[in-house]
């Protein structure tokens, strides 16, 4: 038998052997930490029974003081955020976390940046995949079609033939977790998870060079930034389904566009993006959904920003929470929504 055949056969045997050992349902391959995080969010929603949910990524987590906002507008508000969350995560959170809550919140403010509302594949790979898996229901055909099914036919082929392929992120984080726990215990006598927590603290956003972090963020996003056109992209995005689900669940939506560090300099917003926002606003307005746009709000100044697009936890958060309360108040002036 030739070497090539032995190599192929040994690879196949190894892969299918691993597949048997690590057998799990396809979408449920999330690492335990991601599952635990979703569990915590679910508990939080159940305990706080929010009337207003602020849904988004770490820009919401860093930039909005939900308790202060709630006091200011007279509603129980809660941040439901995940660092790095994009439209797929927001869709799943709305579908599987917010709408099933008892009682469901009356309002959901969805925070977004640029054109990422209609970019269903943005941040669905790598570690993000685990967080999506943790939020997924048993069957997610829309997620599968819009975000998970590979565009690349070769990858699609590998994925079909090798179910283990979808769980490789969980496999990698399992190996990483074991190494971190092992090193932490052997060299520092740390308990499980403590070494990883140290690593997270050392590389917290605040410790990173804000200028280079911002550049890296922009570079990473530019990779997904080939072209965008609202009219073309909206049908193949989670947006229509989010609107439908909210309507069905009796929840009012409001969309909030965050100001990015880029927009601290006037006229930095690309023309295509301005056009996109107009079309998005019109599309949402047709459905009676308001949009609040902070992109050109001069009251958010450079000193309010920390790393990248994040607002600082002190003054940045205070100012933005004020501005948000001011902007949301008219949108929330719906007599059907009882005040707390």
């Amino acid at each position: 038998m030739s070497s090539a055949w032995i190599a192929t056969l040994s690879a196949l045997l190894l892969l299918w052997g691993l597949d048997l050992v690590l057998a799990e349902p396809r979408i449920a391959g999330a690492a335990s930490r991601a599952v635990a995080e979703v569990g915590e969010l679910r508990t939080l929603v159940a305990e706080r029974r929010p009337q207003l949910v602020l849904l988004g990524d770490s820009m919401v987590g860093e930039g909005v003081d939900a308790a202060a906002l709630g006091r200011r507008i007279g509603l129980r508000a809660l941040n439901v955020q995940k660092g790095g969350a994009a439209s797929a995560w927001c869709y799943l959170a709305l579908e599987n976390l917010i709408l099933p809550a008892q009682p469901p919140p009356q309002r959901v403010a969805v925070f977004y940046r640029d054109h990422f509302l209609t970019e269903p594949r943005f941040r669905v790979d790598g570690p993000y995949r685990q967080h999506l898996a943790a939020l997924s229901g048993p069957d997610e055909p829309l997620l599968e079609r819009l975000a998970l099914e590979p565009v690349d036919p070769a990858i699609a082929w590998v994925r079909r033939g090798l179910p283990l392929y979808d769980r490789r992120e969980a496999l990698r984080s399992g190996v990483h977790g074991a190494l971190m726990d092992g090193v932490g215990a052997a060299l520092f006598g740390l308990q499980r998870g403590a070494a990883e927590a140290s690593l997270t603290r050392v590389f917290a956003d605040g410790a990173l060079d804000p200028r280079r972090l911002g550049k890296r963020q922009l570079d990473a996003e530019r990779a997904d930034d080939d072209s965008f056109a609202f009219g073309r992209d909206v049908a193949d995005s989670f947006l229509p389904e989010m609107v439908r689900l909210a309507e069905e669940g009796g929840v009012s939506l409001v969309f909030v566009r965050m100001k990015r560090r880029r927009d601290l300099e006037p006229n930095r917003e690309p023309k295509e993006l301005a056009r996109y926002q107009q079309e998005l606003g019109a599309w949402l307005a047709e459905r009676g959904i308001p949009v609040v746009d902070f992109t050109h709000d001069a009251r958010l100044r450079p000193e309010h920003y920390a790393a990248g697009d994040h607002l600082s936890r002190g003054e940045g958060r205070r100012v933005f929470t004020e501005l948000l309360a001011e902007a949301l108040a008219p949108q929330l002036a719906d007599p059907r929504v009882p005040r707390s």
């Binding site: 030739s2 190599a7 090193v183 070494a195 690593l199 590389f203 804000p210």
Partner: protein, 460 residues
């Protein structure tokens, strides 16, 4: 087009099928030339115009050198100047303009910086050096100028090694281009392991370890210990990234019936600076040696001072070749100083330590120097590195100590496949290599990152 994309896989399959279906060498070369330009201009077609202009110019210069030997010196100077202008415009203009502005403002003179903000054409440093070496070889009489532009153009643009080397010499590659090539199954089967090895190094090792290295060099004020761990991770990353690229390049070339030089010979085992440069980026270091270091006098210059200048100039330029930033120059100067110091201590190019203890000591010293060099290379700026080195040393405990140990452990974890590859290459067990290939395939399928990084040397 990048080697890790499925577009490249499809491109290679199409080119291979067409290439081996053509019976005639010249037609094969024509196809290769066309496909090399498609490969190069895939994202930015205008890059092709630049490369074509540079190719035609150097081809004409070489012919003119042969035709009018009495004027060969000015002709050579014209080629060198033109190639350096090309590099100067597209790679170094903004850097020098900014540096001049900083110097002027240091003297209290405020000038408005002039910046071109042009995009750096990928691979420009590689093909310029390749083209230049051809002209110099013709000038020296080591090589006959080629009459056929297509052959020379293929030498410059040959897609497997166009964007990140190895920098092939005309004396090696042109004869292969001009010779008939026959399809042989054995060549195909020998290319497979090269591809697997390359993809394993890039997709499994380099892309994974890069995540940790990048985080360290993104810190605003890294503790020294963490800087050391991050540098170790970067050393693993850059070796896996670049040697992985070379393996894929060699594999692709072999499928087309060409043999490219191996750019690496276990550089982590180097015992001295001379030894290191015989093992790391061999095609560049030998280029620098033959066209810069030796013409400047090399180690045979009379005075110690002049030898020091030669070392610093050669390596400083080599550093600048890597990128338009002062930390690259500092990296080159550091290696130049190291070479000079070793020579002065009697540990020149032929030096070998005697005994295991001395060998181990020499290895430890050289590894530490190499790592220090990588810190210079990877640092975002010299000021950043200086502030990191000046920071008070934190203890082993605490978050920074734990994070440093973890980063070093991740670097070791991802270096493991490299060690296994090296061990596999030395083993003579016939079953090991196919089994290893199977394991490589599994690792590539399961441990590649969805969002990988470009090859590091694409930036140069």
């Amino acid at each position: 087009m990048i080697f890790t994309s499925t577009v490249f896989a499809a491109f290679l399959v199409v080119v291979l099928c067409a290439y081996w279906a053509i019976p005639h060498r010249r037609l094969q070369n024509g196809l290769l030339l066309g496909s090399s330009y498609v490969f190069y201009g895939w994202v930015h077609p205008w890059f092709c115009g630049l490369m074509a202009a540079s190719t035609v110019f150097d081809w004409l210069i070489a012919l003119a050198i042969e035709r009018w030997p009495a004027h060969k010196r000015p002709l050579l100077v014209a080629s060198v100047v033109a190639n350096l202008c090309l590099l100067g415009t597209f790679k170094y203009f903004d850097f020098f303009a900014e540096s001049v502005q900083r110097v002027m403002s240091g003297f209290g003179l405020e000038v408005t910086p002039i910046a071109l903000h042009v995009m750096l054409p990928v691979g420009i440093s590689f093909y310029t050096f390749q083209s230049l070496s051809y002209v110099i070889d013709v000038y020296r009489g080591d090589l006959a100028a080629r009459r056929r532009l297509a052959d020379f153009a293929l030498y410059v643009a040959f897609f497997p090694q166009l964007v990140a080397g190895p920098i092939e010499r005309a004396q090696r590659l042109l004869p292969q281009i001009e010779a008939p090539r026959r399809f042989r199954a054995a060549v195909f089967t020998s290319a497979g392991p090269l591809f697997l090895r390359g993809y394993l190094k890039k997709l499994v090792v380099a892309d994974n370890v890069a995540v940790f290295a990048d985080q360290v060099f993104l810190l605003e004020h890294p503790p020294l210990l963490l800087l050391a761990a991050g540098t170790l991770a970067f050393a693993v990353q850059i070796y896996a990234d670049f040697s992985g690229y070379t393996d894929i390049a060699r594999g692709s070339a072999r499928l087309l019936g060409f043999e490219l030089i191996d750019n690496f010979r276990a550089p982590f085992l180097a015992l001295s600076p001379s030894d290191y440069w015989r093992r790391w980026h061999i095609s560049l270091s030998s280029w620098i040696r033959d066209y810069l270091y030796i013409p400047l006098g090399g180690s045979r210059v009379g005075s110690r001072g002049r030898f020091g200048v030669v070392c610093l100039a050669t390596f400083g330029l080599s550093g600048l070749w890597h990128g338009a930033a002062w930390h690259f120059v500092a990296w080159g100067l550091f290696h130049g100083a190291l070479l000079f110091a070793y020579h002065q201590l009697g540990m020149g190019s032929r030096w070998q330590p005697r005994g295991r203890a001395r060998t181990l000591l020499a290895w430890c010293a050289m590894s530490a120097f190499t790592l220090a060099g990588w810190a210079l290379f990877r640092a975002p700026s010299l000021a950043w590195l200086a502030s990191a080195l000046a920071a008070p040393v934190a203890g082993l405990g605490g978050d920074a100590g734990v994070a440093s140990a973890l980063i070093a452990a991740f670097a070791a974890l991802y270096a493991l496949p490299l060690a296994l590859l090296a061990a596999g290459e030395r083993s003579r067990a016939p079953w090991l290599s196919p089994l290893g290939a199977g394991l490589c395939l599994v690792l590539v399928l399961l441990f590649h990152r969805d969002v990988g990084q470009d090859f590091i040397y694409f930036r140069f």
